[in-house]
């Protein structure tokens, strides 16, 4: 457990991918085979069933710490993470050696039968462990119940670490980890090291990424040299169909077969082995659904039938990278596209429509229709360009819609829930509204977090402490004085917000120190942005 807790600490302390990979690879070198298999299971979302719910954990932790429930909840709110709060309150304040604590696989295996145990047995089990652990191990242990301790470790990152440790290619390892396997029964040898033919077959190609177009369209030269289509607001994906099996890879080169089972039967439509590049989109009535709908599907490791019916998805194809075992990437886009169009499209397999304008002004017009089409803007691909690797300038461009902005007044600030305890991180903004009988007042329209520099962040925090009018638990109402430019991707009507509108991805663009609150925008300015 000590090694694992240390791993969690190192992962937690760095945001650099290569350091995370190194830390994991180092863990794999040191850990026993049984512990290794369990860590692979945990990091690929196969943790033991949740034996205890979080409300019981909170209750027992309050009791163990000798504090009342309200104080536990306040503390939790400040610390922001339940597993950490409990560890801070109940773990042993003395360091523990590895020998003093049970091994990771022992703990995890004892969690499996715990699910069906009586409540008081569960309580004894959990509280006993708490007292045995130091802070870090206690934190890691709690994460087995609360979840979410992947700490920025994607499946891809883990397979990279395994590649480093075993010298087996990461994509192959990702394939080996697909499907059902039981960490209690499988050995590291059979899971990772043994040959697996299927793993070779499923490999995707590295993605080719577009640059943002900064100039006018006309700077791209002759419009007839470009393939133009909408930029779909889903997730970039490759659909690999080889030897009668379909594999879906996201741009992070993670296998996402489990989340989208309805797309796995697309082999029957495609019939010929191939690799398609395209976009996974939530899609209904011939129109893309907002990205938030797709997120719901992505968030579930396994999708239910109900969710599938509620949020149908399609694979919107726009490129063909391999056909009948032949790599087409060196061929010009126009030829790949020609071949692509020969497939039969419909239902969950869609073809991204090509726009064939005679002039750049028509491209501009089409971009203006992005909203009604449910896209983010346009994609422009040079007709004679091969399919390259990574981000290369000159042949693939994206032209996104500008975000909408308004100037709004800071009205409330909330203490950070999560990474920023004891700081005000969540800001609420208001716009002016004048109702018939009343004077103008500020009406809340959005909450936003990011966008300030560290220096501004500190400055705003100090300002908040000195300009508080009222307090509601973690929230402070502040003097109406500071103006910020808020950007967002879209506006829709909403009954959830006092203003009657909801904005998409609101964020602070800049602090308008040059503006007074009288210069902030009105609610009707927001209304005007509604399409």
């Amino acid at each position: 457990m000590k090694n694992f807790a240390h791993l969690i600490e190192v992962l937690d302390q760095t945001t650099k991918t290569n350091e995370k990979v190194d830390a994991l690879a180092q863990y794999f070198r040191l850990a026993s085979d049984k512990d290794k298999v369990w860590v692979i299971a945990l990091l690929s979302g196969r943790r033991p069933p949740r034996a205890v719910n979080t409300s019981l954990l909170r209750q027992w932790a309050s009791e163990s710490a000798g504090i009342e429930n309200w104080l536990f909840e306040e503390t939790y709110h400040i610390v922001g993470d339940l597993a950490e709060t409990i560890a801070l309150l109940v773990s042993s304040n003395n360091p523990k050696t590895a020998e003093e604590m049970p091994a990771l696989h022992e703990i995890l295996e004892s969690l499996i039968p715990l699910k069906n145990a009586e409540e008081d047995q569960k309580k004894i089990f959990v509280c006993t462990y708490w007292s045995k652990f130091d802070y870090l191990s206690c934190f890691a242990f709690n994460k087995f119940f609360t979840g979410g301790f992947r700490l920025g470790v994607s499946q891809r990152l883990m397979t990279k670490a395994l590649e480093k440790y075993t010298q087996i290619e990461a994509d192959e390892i990702a394939l080996k980890l697909m499907g059902n396997w039981d960490p209690q029964k499988v050995s590291f040898e059979s899971l990772i090291l043994a040959e697996n033919k299927e793993a070779h077959e499923a490999k995707p190609y590295p993605f080719y990424l577009a640059y943002a177009l900064e100039d006018d369209f006309s700077a791209l030269g002759d419009v007839s040299l470009w393939a133009i289509e909408h930029k779909w607001d889903g997730i970039r994906a490759q659909l690999v169909f080889r030897n009668n099996s379909v594999y879906l890879w996201s741009r992070g080169e993670e296998l996402i077969n489990a989340q989208f089972p309805e797309l796995l039967s697309l082999g029957q439509v495609l019939q010929t082995s191939c690799v398609l590049d395209g976009e996974l989109l939530a899609f209904q009535d011939k129109k893309p659904l907002p990205f938030s709908a797709l997120q719901k599907r992505l968030g579930r490791k396994k999708s239910s039938e109900k969710l599938r019916a509620e949020i149908p998805v399609v694979f919107m194809a726009y490129d063909l990278l391999e056909y009948q075992a032949e790599d087409l990437r060196a061929q010009p886009y126009s030829k790949r596209r020609q071949q692509l169009e020969r497939f039969s499209f419909g239902g969950p397999l869609q073809l991204s429509e090509r726009i064939t304008p005679a002039h750049w002004s028509q491209v501009e017009e089409e971009k203006g229709r992005s909203k009604e089409k449910g896209s983010e803007g346009l994609m422009l691909k040079k007709l004679d360009a091969p399919y390259r690797v990574g981000r290369k300038k000159g042949e693939w461009f994206k032209s996104k819609l500008d975000p909408m902005t308004v100037d709004a007044v800071l009205t409330y600030a909330m203490r950070g829930h999560g990474r920023r305890s004891n700081l005000y991180t969540d800001f609420t903004f208001g716009l002016w509204h004048t109702s018939t009988e009343k004077e103008a007042e500020l009406v809340t329209f959005a909450k936003a977090y990011s966008g300030l520099t560290d220096k501004e962040f500190v400055e705003v925090n100090q300002w908040i402490k000195k300009n508080t009018i009222a307090r509601f638990g973690p929230v402070r109402q502040v003097n109406a004085e500071l103006v910020f430019e808020i950007a967002f991707e879209g506006v829709s009507k909403s009954s959830r917000h006092k203003s009657g509108y909801a904005t998409r991805f609101p964020r602070i663009l800049r602090w308008r120190k040059d503006k007074t609150i009288e210069e902030a925008n009105h609610l009707h300015d927001l209304e005007a942005l509604l399409q």
Binding site: Q13, A65, T75, I78, G80, D81, L89, N94
Partner: protein, 331 residues
């Protein structure tokens, strides 16, 4: 109802009977200062009164000021109100300020800690009727580990960095934390260097209370000749140019805030060590109990939560706002 002996005004904690302010944040005629940290000892008062150990530090930071030095426990009277200073254990010279008038006693804690750091004069509890306490770390999530354990963590971290040929840069507030680290660490692992700001503070503090003297990080100090060194530096130099010369390096901070992952991450250090010059939750409770005060006023930190907690334990407590900065780096 009689007037309170101390009240909270827009200039600071005020004693109307004596016409004197405690740790005022706006310029006043007469100020009693709990300790030399910038948020408590501000520039611009006509007359200062402070503990004799604080005086040279205040002069170092504020320049030419008119200041009267007092010893611990020495009682002095202003308009019939008796005042005295008592050790608060926070930093060198840090004092609780006691005020008594007609049999009623108030104590303002200033900043304090109860655990001994073996350098600062330890906290001495004072009985009083009203105890004005800080509560920077007034929630139970804060439980300080043993100091020696933390120093050992720091040494291990340094040792490991030195073995990898990496410089260790440890950030700690230049007044308080830096002296505590200077006192407990030595150059047994590799050279120990002090940032010039800290070196200057150490010299001043050394004049009132002896400290082991370490090498100053001058312009001329050659990184190549000091491989694996530990540099103690003030937190606001985290992004400074001089650091470049010392690459490769790892950074760490020593502060009570380092107890939570959120704070560790937010402040962007590679590592955090939980070392505070404020009391943790239990220390606050011990101090409140030891004061035997009938009522408690919570001033800075988690005031609302902590006062609610005290009330739930049958101790009458209220809150008062002060602009003492929740300066994360000095905690």
């Amino acid at each position: 109802m009689k007037d309170p002996l101390l009240e909270f005004s827009d200039k600071g904690i005020y004693c109307p009977k004596a016409d004197v302010y405690l740790d005022p944040w706006r310029p006043v005629d007469k100020a009693i200062i709990s300790h030399a940290h910038a948020d408590h000892s501000r520039w611009g008062h006509k007359k200062y009164i402070a503990h004799e150990h604080s005086v040279p530090i205040m002069q170092h930071r504020l320049g030419d000021i008119e200041v009267a030095a007092k010893k611990w426990g020495e009682s002095f009277s202003i308009n019939g109100v008796r005042f005295s200073l008592h050790p608060a254990g926070h930093i060198v010279g840090s004092s609780q300020i006691k005020a008594s008038y007609k049999g009623e006693t108030w104590v303002f804690s200033g900043d304090y800690k109860l655990h001994h750091d073996h350098y600062t004069t330890p906290f001495e509890p004072q009985k009083c009727d009203v105890f004005i306490t800080e509560c920077t770390f007034g929630i139970p999530a804060f439980r300080w580990p043993d100091q020696e354990q933390v120093m050992e963590q720091i040494r291990n971290w340094w040792q490991q960095n030195a073995a990898n040929g990496v410089t260790s840069v440890l950030f700690g507030y230049s007044l308080g934390k830096a002296q505590r680290l200077s006192y407990h660490l030595n150059d047994a692992i590799a050279p120990l260097l002090l940032h010039p700001v800290i070196y200057a503070h150490n010299e001043v503090v050394h004049s009132v209370k002896p400290l082991p003297m370490h090498q100053k990080l001058d312009q001329g100090v050659d990184p190549k000749a000091h491989r694996g060194a530990l540099i103690i530096a003030p937190p606001n130099t985290q992004d400074a140019q001089w650091l470049k010369k010392w690459e490769p390096y790892k950074t760490a901070a020593a502060s009570g805030w380092m107890a939570t992952r959120g704070a560790r991450r937010r402040r962007g250090y590679d590592t955090g060590f939980v070392l505070s010059d404020h009391g943790d939750f239990n220390e606050l409770n011990t101090a409140v109990r030891a004061s035997e005060a009938e009522s408690v006023i919570c001033t800075h930190g988690y005031t609302e939560i902590y006062s609610k907690y005290l009330n739930s334990k049958g101790i009458r407590a209220t809150t008062a706002d002060t602009p003492f900065e929740e300066e994360p780096n000095e905690s």
